[in-house]
Symmetry: D2
Subunit: 359 residues, 4 copies
Amino acid sequence: MATIRLGITMAKMKAVVKTKPEPGAELVEIDIPTPKPDEVLVKVLATSICGTDLHIYEWNKWAQNRIRNIPQVMGHELCGEVIELGTNVKAVQKGDVISAETHIACNHCYLCHTGNAHICINGRIFGVDVNGVFAEYAVLPSSNAWILDKKIPRDFASVMEPLGNAVHTVLAGEINGNTTLVTGCGPIGVMSIAVARICGATRIIATDINEYRLQMAKKAGADLVLNPKKDDIVQRVLQETSGLGIDVVLEMSGVSTAIQQGFDCLRPGGRFSILGIPDKPMEIDIGKSIVFKYATVQGINGRLMFSTWHKTSRFLSSGRLNLDSIITHRFRLEEFEKGMELMKSGNCGKVLLYPHPKD
Amino acid sequence: MATIRLGITMAKMKAVVKTKPEPGAELVEIDIPTPKPDEVLVKVLATSICGTDLHIYEWNKWAQNRIRNIPQVMGHELCGEVIELGTNVKAVQKGDVISAETHIACNHCYLCHTGNAHICINGRIFGVDVNGVFAEYAVLPSSNAWILDKKIPRDFASVMEPLGNAVHTVLAGEINGNTTLVTGCGPIGVMSIAVARICGATRIIATDINEYRLQMAKKAGADLVLNPKKDDIVQRVLQETSGLGIDVVLEMSGVSTAIQQGFDCLRPGGRFSILGIPDKPMEIDIGKSIVFKYATVQGINGRLMFSTWHKTSRFLSSGRLNLDSIITHRFRLEEFEKGMELMKSGNCGKVLLYPHPKD
Amino acid sequence: MATIRLGITMAKMKAVVKTKPEPGAELVEIDIPTPKPDEVLVKVLATSICGTDLHIYEWNKWAQNRIRNIPQVMGHELCGEVIELGTNVKAVQKGDVISAETHIACNHCYLCHTGNAHICINGRIFGVDVNGVFAEYAVLPSSNAWILDKKIPRDFASVMEPLGNAVHTVLAGEINGNTTLVTGCGPIGVMSIAVARICGATRIIATDINEYRLQMAKKAGADLVLNPKKDDIVQRVLQETSGLGIDVVLEMSGVSTAIQQGFDCLRPGGRFSILGIPDKPMEIDIGKSIVFKYATVQGINGRLMFSTWHKTSRFLSSGRLNLDSIITHRFRLEEFEKGMELMKSGNCGKVLLYPHPKD
Amino acid sequence: MATIRLGITMAKMKAVVKTKPEPGAELVEIDIPTPKPDEVLVKVLATSICGTDLHIYEWNKWAQNRIRNIPQVMGHELCGEVIELGTNVKAVQKGDVISAETHIACNHCYLCHTGNAHICINGRIFGVDVNGVFAEYAVLPSSNAWILDKKIPRDFASVMEPLGNAVHTVLAGEINGNTTLVTGCGPIGVMSIAVARICGATRIIATDINEYRLQMAKKAGADLVLNPKKDDIVQRVLQETSGLGIDVVLEMSGVSTAIQQGFDCLRPGGRFSILGIPDKPMEIDIGKSIVFKYATVQGINGRLMFSTWHKTSRFLSSGRLNLDSIITHRFRLEEFEKGMELMKSGNCGKVLLYPHPKD
């Protein structure tokens, strides 16, 4: 049946599936999905592992509370080729090579109506609320498909979604001519450094406790990297900014000590944009850290649909932004457990999985 | 000497002075000050009591840490008449009736240079760092004098500085067409309601535990007032906003439960502007209240020098804004202790003191 | 056939149709349209005449160049009730009373993707590019339907689309605390005055050569009305603004002399927002009027989809904005020629037509 | 007298002076000026020629109408060393090496009060309204002195004022991720290209009729240069932008055909920032070029005091921005006529003059 649909013998596909409400995941064979009228079927050329995938894999508290559908295919970042169209699809063609926005919006709530579809009240996320893309094939709404400029390599395309998080965070306020502190040099932290660099940040300082990641930060364009285990972050940042404090803090760690350091480093009137997610409440001296500091604190998630995608695409297709040093490891889909272990160690940038390694 | 200077017999003046590092203040006779080259001498026509003055009067922890010069004349809000000019003064004339910006800026630091003189790194404040205006006469830098439009009554002029706080907070982001929650209905909270109202906020909800203040809030333009002792704030606000949450929270209380309620009431992507100052650190779930909520949290203090003053002045001189219901009590300067007691009780709006009650 | 579809005998409907490429229009009987999968069928409760309709009726040059489909039902502003749903429609229900956005967007071009769907590259407009709403029934894409808050009266709903133009123009920059000049007091000009008033503009001056319209402007909230036939506009505006010039000009006339007066009245650094459309090129001294003046000139058309609709709706449903004095005439649909003549005379505000006057 | 003041024999200095209301200028000996209380005396280390200087030199119509004080020292761009302080000066020290803002603001008008001191109503300009800096020494208000970061070379410092124009124009709206057209590759046009490049513009197209300048544009970072004498600008720009049009036009030529091309190249919703000054009025189709295009047109002059200076300084001191290819010629002050001729030819970038060539 599926065979007939696609004209070749391929009723089944391999997929990394969360099969049980416990740590781990399994590579299993399942039916290739059929696109609904507004969806497309995509052959997954490359997919990448996000911290969220690791949380689901490890089955941490957040995952236990958030994941409702088991079994469910994991993963959300991808580069793929459109191979079948739902009956209503107009703006996407067979053969289009795409990346994808992973937030599925309702398009009619107040937030969708006012430029905030990425935080749609009725929003669902690939690999979290619906089946994901750690598989040979996947379906997704055609309005989530991002048709790629041909100048963008497949591997870069696979990580455009988290890169969009970085772009969104860096550009949530003024960055050109601004001194910038990035706390946390995981993949999105390092991408933020690269984006801040090409957008005119004039002094970029990065912090992490992992030396591997600090090396990535340097390659991506950080002017100075600091390790809180060795360096007095606040003192060093004040020194580097003539005692004024830093213009912009981009919080990418979710670690409470880093957040506090960020506030202590921020100059009066500065911007503090937070993408990292602390796993529990923390104490904040609102008077000192926010009110008297005249600080602007922004919670960031997702990417603007689709302003951020256009910018991200242009940064890549123009060659201004290069991700070679940030994509550090590549595996076959079957080796997903190696990828997960690597992510857990922290000694990596982006880790890619290839469901069709020969293509 | 002073007599000769001003051409009349008045070498001494009455002033409310913080004479000792302990609760209270005294009405004493001191020399009328002499303006330095860039200063003007002002006859104080009306002055008003701020919460800050109450803190200094009560000698709370903040005051104990902050106040360094004792004895010092208290007070910073005023309406006055310029009666003598320093030798360099050009932009102000004798006879000008003025209000005054109370933050003295250095005009050459990074913050002064970039539109943030109100948070000048070298900034000093009347009645906190230098002698204030609870007195018959006062000196102030001519660049702090705000020459009044003749249509603005003296009493309104006396409270233009805290009104400027309200204007600054309300207009720190979009307000027209926005639903708005004001937590805390002290004088600046109530002024914020009035300002939000004339600037197009479409549903204004106000909270306080004091019924006197809730009545003021209603008169100032609140569409709905809620008392956290009786009402389930979060539930009611969600109900009033079709479950979406409120667009803008203006935090005017400094109370941690009100702040938490504010976060819980805020819609995704909303604005949370904080003028109230909590007296100690509090726990915040940054993930839930800020990051996933895509919230923008702004610490506010002071007023833009002088964009806010121009707006405030126009709101008053055009008659769009009326403060009659917000100025609730008037005393002679000698009666300052009555004013302080009233402020302590919370059963008042702005309290004015007149050093020259017959003028 | 249509009878069966709607369950009652009504295969045909009356409509005002542009039947020939020449001045005029005809009331004719045509088939009630059938909604496509993404469309809804609406019973038109009220519809209003726009200047664009008059241009098409009079068949001026613009219309001759722009209108390609004849015969075509005229009209685009409406309040209606949804009576039938296309097969894909989800977010709208039968029985919903709606107004409608009249720009049909493609939702996938660069402009749709980046918050500018109202100027979609592939955009089409009711009554201009496709059949309109001067009829007993009309079809429209469900995503164009604006479900009404029950507090908004039908007549106000009918004019929400042009009111949205006014809201969009007024709020294209800062308005609170700003002095404002509205050049041209046609219906949208007068609506702009009303909107500017409730959003905190502190001095509103309006100009027109028609005294009827200047009276409407006054009722809507103008502080001062001027007639260029009698008054020296530039001199008066400078006088009213202490010689500084006006903060904001809202150009609603399309008349070159008014545009030049607007530039001459504008203060250095002011905003000049243009909704009026001159019918031919005009001379501008860019150096004097724009560069040395540090002016920001904004071309405005349409309304933000759907931020502007949300604001417009809230202004009306909160009762902050009242249009009673702006809706001046009401006719049955059959009397459309009377409405057109009235529009031509200029002695009217909004003119409404009722296809089902007994409902 | 002056000798005693500065402790060395130098009562007189050489200066390039506009001595008569006719074309030309003269190198003459005049008294070294004495700083007033708020001024500083500066030894001019380098000064550069602006297009405005050329206009005054050539005595064109603008100059004839604008220049009121003759004789007057020409010139306004400089790098200098502070050698004497007025009696009130606090924020500047002897020995400070400075560049200078050339607009002298009153600091108390509405525009100075609201962040627009650069267009101060009472503003005066070095070399236009008061004596300038084409001289061995010059006085200027201490608040106009910009104390240099030691990492910035003197030659770059000398051109920081026009570089500030470029920074101000480029950053008057969003630039990162934006396609950009620079019309006119004189020195400020070329600087704009360099600034746009480091701030994330993703495709920069530059036009000029002078091939020398197009080569400079390429070196500064333009991705594509076009010559209107050979290329169909509008067609090429549309081609380069997939038919959409360009996001941002930076108009640096003041030429009416270039301005019209700019409008024709601009995408719907785009930004059109004008620094170039046409010498006479021109015809504009406001409907087509601005209103239906939903364009934002900005007149730019000067630089923000001092946000732009901070950014400009950081771009230079961080090494992000290099001006080596833009400073093309260097002369002794005495050779100013050679510099003027070169400027007239257009075959140059910035031309510097050294009053003390041995230092």
